[in-house]
Symmetry: D2
Subunit: 133 residues, 4 copies
């Protein structure tokens, strides 16, 4: 499966006194990336949650920071599904500075499909193609 | 009614590249202040929400910033109820630098009591004393 | 002067357990709005800060919340300059749900121009037209 | 070296519409944990940054989420130094629910010592004992 590109522009709120983006915000951008990947494949994560009660609980995250992102820069979040089966999905991310393609960070998040009470659940079959299952 | 003091320590995540606390975070500290005011009067906002389905939806906020808060400083959030009746409550806040009592900001938030569907609701009478009604 | 429209899409990170956007995030969107207003008038707030050492320290904010914003909704931030002179500027904001134009919130932020040490400063004349001075 | 315990109370702002803490906030708590570890060993991270221009740039983070943290819960951040030499330091974290000791998450962050321009730098020898070097 191919990756999906989303763009975010760094907000002032996302910087810290080191003059760069605070590292936890990269995880928020990854969230934006995977939501847009779903949208590009024809489903809305919001509807999946609201209509079918399927949540993507985060089970694991990792991120390696290669170069700091700075205020007002445009950042490309390049998202891909690294692995998926009816119980879990692993997304991979490459964050790039849009201006010159410089690699900012590489990350991965693992999610467990859950019901509204956050108990592990099986993804309904109609969603399998979205995740390449 | 008397005011209630809570303390927060400025986190690195709360600063921005101006080298001071990003202004929206003062609203988060005010939230901490009003929750602790409730706790000091014997009720848990969490339980009020979980058990009675009463939400304090924010209807209005205002904040005047007198002096910037900086990383790792301890900040006193001095919270008081300015006005309350069974449909709404107004909290007032004074934020002070703990080290020397310097005034950092003064704010106010107005809340409407709501039910779980966020429709305006009447506060159950058992909670009236907490808010000085 | 005319207002400038910017759009943001509500992130999962911006919601809270009430199922709507946490109120402090509206202030972050207002920041996005005023930065884009500056950009639409030909200046980059980043450059103003980096090259001329001019900061827009927030002196006052207020926001009235009319209707909750929800996850994944697109929000229009309609920004205007309400008042400006070489020492300060006041921005006004109307936040609207893009899908149907429903009014979500109305806000205002007052800023004092400062130098890098956050001392009040006079805005260089070359920037006056941007702010309608 | 022994671990250091810090406590944070979950803020409403830190929850999301899943009704639990948004996962990126665990990284903020880890930041609180490592700052308090430094403080417990007699140094202030703020002073190290302000006086000696030494920054701890985040190079890598990982976190496994075992159980969701919920609003108003008190969380213990148990922090330890897993590895350190004059160029880098690795902190390890265990996040526990204070009420019953339930494990919420396990994480690790790797940092590179940098100067004010965020170039890799060697940690001054006077700080070595703090990090167990």
């Amino acid at each position: 499966m191919t990756s999906v590109e989303t763009r975010v522009r760094v907000r002032y709120a996302e910087t810290d006194q080191m003059g760069v983006v605070y590292h936890a915000n990269y995880l928020v951008w990854m969230e934006v990336g995977r939501v847009e990947l779903c949208r590009s494949r024809g489903i809305s994560y919001r509807d999946m949650e609201a209509n079918d009660g399927i949540m993507l609980a985060v089970a694991e995250v990792q991120c390696r920071y290669a170069h700091p992102a700075r205020y007002d820069e445009e950042v490309i979040v390049d998202t891909v599904i690294n692995k998926a089966h009816p119980r879990m999905v692993v997304f991979g991310y490459r964050l790039l500075r849009a201006a010159d393609g410089k690699l900012l960070a590489v990350g991965e998040t693992k999610h467990v499909f859950c019901d509204r009470e956050l108990r592990p659940a099986k993804l309904p079959a109609k969603y399998w193609p979205v995740f390449g299952i």
